[in-house]
């Protein structure tokens, strides 16, 4: 049964710079089913980040329909969107976006906090999640004390702590060297193998190759959508 996590139909989005309307996304149609590893590839300015923000329920489309887990996002209130962001989406950013004054553990606990989960349960779930990315020894450190790779691993732990329907990553290796980037990508592989659904936005070919499906965006339009049949390695 292919359950659609994301279903986007005829989606348009444009920005207004002064009186000029700048189209960012034009007639996007995209569906992501459960346990799919999708990479959205495109050069900067192609509209892939805008797409990411809309998929992540941080922004709204101008036209078209977007279903997340069967809910029509256009009809959801700000409050319901916040609930989806908190409980069903795990966000990973290029610049990690950890809150500097909170410890790693507190950072990972934060989405659970906003879901109203009790302090003891938050702590144990966050510890489990940090163990999954191999950061169980860094709980009380502040983000500034961590290396770039560790920061991104902490951010991944934060994204998967709620066991979300989809993990969204915006250029997750963009601020890392290739060796560390590879480590991060391995974690994504593992999440995927464990049944997770992943959507990565990147302009990096190396990253794009990891996905099971590569969607190429150019000038706000999807120009290709290729499913890769991979022979089992490792």
């Amino acid at each position: 049964m292919d359950k659609k996590v994301i279903e986007i139909k005829n989606l348009f989005k444009s920005y207004h710079i002064g009186h000029v309307e700048v189209p960012a996304l034009k007639n996007i149609n995209l569906a992501v089913i459960k346990n799919q590893y999708v990479v959205i590839k495109g050069p900067s300015g192609s509209g892939k980040s805008t797409l990411m923000h809309i998929v992540g329920c941080l922004d709204r489309a101008d036209r078209g329909s977007y279903y997340f887990d069967g809910h029509l996002v256009e009809e959801l209130s700000d409050l319901e969107l916040a609930e989806i962001r908190g409980g069903k989406i795990g966000f990973i950013f290029q610049s990690f976006n950890l809150i500097p004054r909170l410890s790693i553990l507190k950072n990972v606990e934060l989405p659970l906090f906003y879901l109203g989960i009790s302090a003891s349960e938050r702590s144990s779930l966050a510890r489990d999640s940090l163990a999954r990315v191999g950061l169980e020894h860094r709980l009380t450190h502040s983000p500034a004390e961590l290396s770039g790779g560790e920061k991104q691993r902490a951010a991944i732990a934060r994204a998967i702590v709620t066991n979300p329907s989809i993990v969204l990553a915006d250029e997750p290796t963009g601020n890392l060297d290739s060796k560390t980037g590879e480590d991060i990508l391995k974690i994504f592989d593992r999440i995927y193998r464990d049944g997770g659904t992943i959507l990565i936005v990147t302009h990096n070919e190396m990253v794009a190759e990891r996905g099971g499906r590569i969607v190429t965006v150019l000038d706000g339009e999807i120009v290709s959508d290729i499913e890769i049949i991979r022979t089992e390695k490792e």
């Binding site: 992540g56 941080l58 700000d78 409050l79 962001r85 950890l98 906003y114």
Partner: protein, 399 residues
């Protein structure tokens, strides 16, 4: 809920100096409200107590028509004097009066051997003691015979005794009052200051002797004591009736009751307390603006953080609460410190300067604290709302 409070506390602690300085505005505001209201309230209670000590049954009759509310006397030029006969007439005819005490006030140069001073001198009758609630302690007070026979006897207050006689026993000693020889027959009990006036710095002599000494036949004022507190108003009416009959049916004198004086002063001082409290309250509002300013800076600084929090599931209300708690905690802490500070200064004043009346009242503490909490909520609301309404994408992009 507790977590959000804890979170707010964390961010306050993170910027200790900034939080402290912001708090200081509220501290000063609350402390000044507490202090000034305490002073006002203390003064009011002090005045009440002093007047009650004199006796609420007291009525004061003065020549000329004046009102306690402060109108100018309409016939001030034709003020008719109050005479000793007026007094005697009242004494004989008023049913509602327990006693009556006419007074002639003047200043006499009091001289003993080589010491001399100008001292306020009161010509009184024996009834003065009970009416005014001031009693002789050693020796005897002015007697009715002393008055009748214009005797040159004097009763002195404690301060006069100390200044002129030091440790010497003044009883039986002769002093010069503006060139006339008087014999000391009594010493008053110690009373201390009242409204900053030294009641012990007085000389009492027989009324008629005082009239001779100051060359006058009019009474400075006449004190009257009603039978009891309930009869004060009745006594006032009776005095007016009796005196009007003697004064060609003209009300060319004033009768002020202690009770009306008390309530008038009470009202004035209450209003004054509110006014100075309100003026101090303005500084609390200034403190609130300080909080708003800092909270706006804080929201600006944490724009990115707000974006992150929203991206991982924070609702607008979560962000709103976070900042609102922060400002409210700052202002409430400031309020508590301000109360302690203000009350501390107030008590220090009573400790070091017992003369200055200070009374920290519960209502001012409760009011100042509630006001400081309200200031935090009110001035925190705008920045918190601004934070909550931030667009998550824009906030995330903010560097």
């Amino acid at each position: 809920m507790l977590d959000i409070i804890f979170m707010a506390l964390e961010s306050i602690m993170l910027n200790k100096v900034r939080s402290f300085l912001t708090m200081l505005g509220v501290v000063i505001g609350v402390a000044s409200v507490i202090l000034l209201v305490s002073l006002g309230e203390g003064t009011r209670q002090y005045v009440s107590q002093e007047l009650l000590g004199v006796g609420t049954n007291l009525l004061v009759i003065t020549p000329g028509k004046t009102e306690t509310t402060g109108h100018a006397p309409p016939q001030s030029s034709t003020t008719r004097k109050l005479t000793y006969d007026d007094t005697m007439h009242l004494k004989r005819n008023a049913f509602t009066l327990k006693d009556i005490a006419p007074i002639v006030i003047g200043t006499a140069k009091v001289k003993y051997i080589n010491r001399s001073r100008d001292i306020l001198t009161l010509g009184v009758t024996n009834s003065f003691q009970d009416v005014r609630n001031l009693h002789v302690e050693i020796g005897s007070f002015v007697s009715d015979e002393d008055v009748e026979f214009h005797r040159k006897v004097a009763v002195i207050g404690r301060t006069v005794k100390k200044e002129l006689f030091e440790d010497e026993n003044p009883l039986g000693k002769m002093v010069w009052l503006s060139g006339v020889k008087y014999r000391i027959v009594g010493i008053m009990e110690k009373k201390g200051l009242s409204f900053g006036f030294d009641i012990d710095d007085l000389v009492f002599i027989p009324l008629k002797s005082a009239q001779d000494l100051f060359d006058t036949d009019k009474m400075t004022e006449i004190l009257a004591e009603a039978l009891n507190a309930e009869k004060v108003e009745m006594a006032k009416e009776e005095i007016i009736q009796i005196l009007k009959k003697r004064h060609d049916n003209k009300e060319d004198f004033s009768v002020i009751t202690q009770a009306s004086l008390l309530s008038t002063l009470n009202t004035i001082l209450k209003v004054l307390t509110y006014v100075i409290g309100a003026i101090a309250g303005i500084s609390l509002i200034v403190g609130g603006i300080g909080i708003m300013n800092i909270m706006l800076v804080s929201v600006q600084e944490r724009t990115k953080e707000i974006g992150i929090r929203k991206a991982i599931g924070a609702q607008n209300s979560d962000i709103l609460k976070q900042f609102l708690f922060e400002s409210t905690i700052i202002s409430s802490f400031g309020g508590i410190i301000g109360i302690l500070f203000g009350a501390g200064i107030a008590y220090a004043i009573t400790f070091f300067f017992p003369v200055v009346p200070v009374k920290v009242s519960l209502w001012s503490v409760v009011l100042a604290f509630s006001f400081s909490v309200a200031v935090g909520i009110f001035f925190g609301a705008f920045p918190a709302h601004k934070a909550a309404k931030l667009n998550p994408v824009e906030a995330l992009m903010y560097e």
